[in-house]
C-alpha cells in the first residue's frame, strides 16, 4: 500500500514538474514572440508562468536554455511527424532530407521571430553547449539514418556530417531573417543546398 502511494506520489511529482516546465516554455514563447528575446526577463517569464523566479532557475539556468528547449521539443515533434509520412511520398535522399528539414522549419515557425536574435548563440556550428549538443546529435542521428537507409555502404563521415550541419544551420540563419512571402526564398535555398550536399555525397561514394 505504502509502495503504491509512493509510486503515485512520484508520478504526480513528475507530472507536476513536467507541467511547470511546459508552463515556462509556453510563457517563454508568448513573451519572446510579443516583447522580443532581449526585452523579456526571467522575472517576466516567471510571472507569466505563475511561478517564483527561483523556481524557474530550477528548470532552466538562463533564457537561452528556454529557447533551446523550445527548439528541441519542436524538432522532436517534427521528427515524429516526418517519420509518420516518410514512406508514402518521399523518394530520393535529397527529397527525404528536404522533407526532414522543412517539417522542422514548419514546427519552428512560431519561434521564428525571436530565433533571429538567438540562433547564432544557440545553434552555431562553432558553439557547443549541453543544450545544442543534444539538438545537433539528435538531428545528425536522423540524417545518418536517412543516408544509410538510402543504401550508403558506410556511415557518413564526420566531415560529411559537419558539412551538413554547417549547411543546415546556415539555412536556419537565413530562414529567421528571410523577409520573402512565407519565407519562400528559404525553400529555394534549402532545395539547392540539399541538392548540392547530396551531389557531394555521391562524389565521395564514387571516390571510395
Amino acid at each position: 500500500m505504502s509502495m503504491l502511494i509512493k509510486e503515485v506520489g512520484v508520478r504526480v511529482t513528475q507530472q507536476a514538474k513536467q507541467e511547470t516546465r511546459q508552463r515556462i516554455l509556453d510563457a517563454g514563447i508568448t513573451l519572446f514572440g510579443s516583447k522580443g528575446f532581449d526585452e523579456t526577463t526571467t522575472r517576466d517569464i516567471s510571472r507569466e508562468a505563475g511561478i517564483a523566479v527561483g523556481t524557474l532557475f530550477n528548470y532552466f539556468p538562463a533564457k537561452e536554455a528556454i529557447v533551446l528547449s523550445l527548439v528541441s521539443d519542436r524538432l522532436a515533434a517534427a521528427g515524429l511527424e516526418f517519420h509518420k509520412r516518410l514512406d508514402s511520398t518521399s523518394t530520393s535522399l535529397a527529397e527525404r532530407l528536404f522533407a526532414h528539414v522543412a517539417t522542422g522549419l514548419r514546427k519552428l515557425r512560431p519561434c521564428r521571430k525571436f530565433l533571429s536574435t538567438t540562433i547564432e548563440s544557440c545553434l552555431s556550428p562553432a558553439t557547443l553547449t549541453d543544450g545544442n549538443q543534444s539538438i545537433r546529435s539528435d538531428h545528425l542521428e536522423a540524417v545518418t539514418a536517412l543516408i544509410t537507409d538510402d543504401g550508403a555502404a558506410e556511415l557518413p563521415s564526420a566531415m560529411a556530417l559537419q558539412l551538413y550541419w554547417t549547411l543546415y544551420t546556415g539555412v536556419l540563419s537565413f530562414w529567421v531573417r528571410d523577409t520573402s512571402p512565407h519565407q519562400e526564398d528559404t525553400l529555394a535555398m534549402l532545395d539547392q543546398s540539399i541538392n548540392m550536399f547530396v551531389a557531394w555525397l555521391d562524389t565521395q561514394d564514387a571516390d571510395a
Partner: protein, 473 residues
C-alpha cells in the same frame, strides 16, 4: 574587349553546340566541386547555367550566320550591341525562367536554326529542374493553407507538364472536378526582378551609344513581360477574360479558374484532356485536321487581339491543346501583353496599311514604327527592302486563298530579306514594333510546325469586323 572577329573565332562550331550541353547530373556534380554559393540569393540559380550555355550557343549560331558575310566595318558597328548581349546572357545564367523563355522563342523558328538545335531548345520546355513533392507540399501549404492531399481530393505527386517558371500537376477537387494545378518555383518571381536590376547595371555603360534609348526600352519591355509571367493572379484574370470570348459551339475552349485554390504562386484551372502539338504531330494526323486546328488557333489569336486588345508575347506549342472532339484548348496565358490607346492606334494604322497595301501606305506605317534618319529615308534600297519585308510579313493575311504554312519557302524568303536588310542598315525599331514582330514570328513558327494550311485573310476579315474600323468598310 574582344572584337566581333575574336568572338566569332572563340565560339563553338555548330556541331559542337548540342554536345556542349551537359546533363543535369554533370551539372550537379560539377556544382558540388565549386565553392558553396553563400552570397546573394540570386546565386542559387546557378543550375540555370545549363540553359544559359544553350542560350549562348544559340547566340553563337546567330552571330556566325548573321555576320559571316559582313565586312569589317559592319562588324565593328555591331560590336557594342553584341558585347552587351553576351553579357546579358552570361548574367542570365542564374535566371532559369528567363533563359528558358528565350529558348522557347528560338525553338519556334525551325527554318532558321539547324534541326538538332531546335530539338535541344524544344527539350528545354520540359527539362526544367523539377520541384520534388516535399518542396511542392511545403510551398502549396504556405500558399493555400494546407498540404495538397488535404486541399484536394486527389493530387498527383508527379508533374505532368513543366512550365518555364514551375510545373503543372493533375488533381481532383473535392467536388470531383479534374483540375490542373500550376505551381511556381518558390522565389523565382523576385529573383527575376533582382536579376533584371543587375542587368540594368550591366547595360548602363552603353548609355552613350546611339541606340541606348532603344535598347533600354526593349530591355524594359522584356522585363515587364517576364514580371507579368510570374504573377499567376494576373494570368487568372487573363484566363477569365479570354474564356468569355468564345461560345461553346465555336470549338475553342479556355479552362475555368478556381479562385479559391489560386494565389500569385499557385493557379488551379479546369483540366483539359488533349494532345500537345508534339503528340498531335507524332500521331500523323490528316491534313484536314491540321488545317482545322490551324484555323482555330489563328481565329482565337485574332479574337483575343481585336476584342481584348491582348497579344501572346510568345505564341508557342505549349499554348494549345488538341482535344479528342476536335476542339482547341487554349492554355498558358502568363505571357499576354495588353495594348494601351496609343499602341492600339498604331495597330489600327498597321491594319490600314495592310488593307491599302500600296508602297505609300506601307511607308507611312513603317515611319510610325521605326526611327529612320533622313539618310535612311533617302536610301531607296533600304526603303524598298523595308516595304518588301512588310509585304512578306503580311502575305498570309492578304492572300485570297489557303496559305500553306508547312511550306518552308515562305520563312526562308523572309530570312533572305532580313539578311539583306542587316547588311545595309539597322534602323532603331520602337519596342512595340519589336514585340509585334517577335509575336508574329513565333506565331507563324507555330503554324509551320503544325504544317497547317488555311485562309488567314478570311478569318482576319471576319474577326476584325467587331472593331468597325472605317478603312475596313
Amino acid at each position: 574587349m574582344a572584337t566581333i572577329s575574336e568572338l566569332l573565332e572563340a565560339l563553338p562550331a555548330d556541331e559542337e553546340l548540342v554536345q556542349e550541353a551537359p546533363s543535369q547530373t554533370e551539372v550537379l556534380n560539377s556544382l558540388s566541386q565549386r565553392p558553396v554559393p553563400l552570397g546573394a540569393l540570386r546565386r542559387l540559380w546557378s543550375l540555370g547555367g545549363l540553359h544559359a550555355r544553350v542560350g549562348l550557343a544559340y547566340m553563337a549560331y546567330w552571330m556566325r550566320s548573321y555576320f559571316k558575310n559582313a565586312d569589317d566595318r559592319d562588324r565593328d558597328r555591331m560590336e557594342t550591341h553584341l558585347r552587351s548581349a553576351v553579357k546579358i546572357l552570361n548574367t542570365m545564367g542564374y535566371l532559369r525562367g528567363a533563359v528558358m523563355k528565350i529558348g522557347q522563342l528560338a525553338a519556334n523558328l525551325p527554318e532558321i536554326v539547324p534541326d538538332e538545335f531546335v530539338t535541344t531548345l524544344s527539350r528545354l520546355h520540359f527539362e526544367a529542374p523539377a520541384m520534388h513533392y516535399s518542396l511542392l507540399r511545403e510551398h502549396v501549404h504556405d500558399e493555400l493553407g494546407g498540404d495538397p492531399e488535404e486541399i484536394f481530393a486527389e493530387f498527383e505527386t508527379e508533374a505532368f507538364a513543366a512550365a518555364s517558371l514551375g510545373q503543372v500537376h493533375r488533381a481532383r477537387l473535392k467536388t470531383g472536378q479534374p483540375v490542373a494545378v500550376k505551381i511556381q518555383y518558390p522565389g523565382i518571381a523576385r529573383t527575376i526582378r533582382s536579376d533584371f536590376r543587375n542587368l540594368s547595371a550591366v547595360l548602363l555603360p552603353l548609355r552613350f551609344s546611339r541606340d541606348w534609348e532603344n535598347l533600354k526600352s526593349q530591355f524594359e519591355e522584356l522585363r515587364s513581360v517576364m514580371e507579368t509571367e510570374t504573377d499567376y493572379e494576373r494570368e487568372a484574370e487573363m484566363l477569365r477574360r479570354v474564356r468569355r470570348l468564345f461560345n461553346e459551339d465555336e470549338g475553342i475552349v479556355v479552362p475555368r479558374v478556381y479562385d479559391e485554390y489560386s494565389t500569385r504562386r499557385v493557379l488551379t484551372m479546369e483540366y483539359l484532356d488533349g494532345q500537345t502539338m508534339h503528340e498531335f504531330n507524332d500521331s500523323n494526323p490528316a491534313q484536314e485536321l491540321r488545317n482545322h486546328y490551324g484555323g482555330l488557333i489563328f481565329r482565337s489569336y485574332c479574337r483575343i487581339l481585336f476584342k481584348e486588345r491582348m497579344l501572346f508575347a510568345d505564341p508557342h506549342p505549349g499554348n494549345v491543346l488538341f482535344l479528342d472532339d476536335g476542339r482547341l484548348g487554349l492554355i498558358d496565358f502568363g505571357c499576354m501583353r495588353e495594348w494601351n490607346d496609343e499602341e492600339w492606334d498604331y495597330m489600327r494604322g498597321a491594319d490600314e496599311a495592310l488593307v491599302d497595301f500600296s508602297d505609300e501606305a506601307i511607308i507611312t506605317h513603317i515611319r510610325r514604327g521605326v526611327d529612320l534618319t533622313e539618310e535612311q529615308l533617302s536610301n531607296a534600297e533600304l526603303m524598298r527592302l523595308m516595304v518588301d519585308y512588310c509585304r512578306w510579313i503580311w502575305e498570309p493575311l492578304v492572300t485570297n486563298d489557303n496559305f500553306d504554312n508547312g511550306d518552308g519557302s515562305y520563312i526562308r524568303r523572309g530570312v533572305d530579306i532580313a539578311m539583306a536588310f542587316a547588311k545595309i542598315a539597322r534602323p532603331a525599331q520602337k519596342p512595340l514594333n519589336v514585340f509585334i514582330q517577335r509575336s508574329f514570328f513565333a506565331g507563324w513558327g507555330l503554324h509551320h510546325k503544325l504544317k497547317s494550311c488555311f485562309n488567314g485573310k478570311r478569318i482576319l476579315d471576319e474577326e476584325v469586323r467587331v472593331l468597325d474600323w472605317p478603312h475596313r468598310k
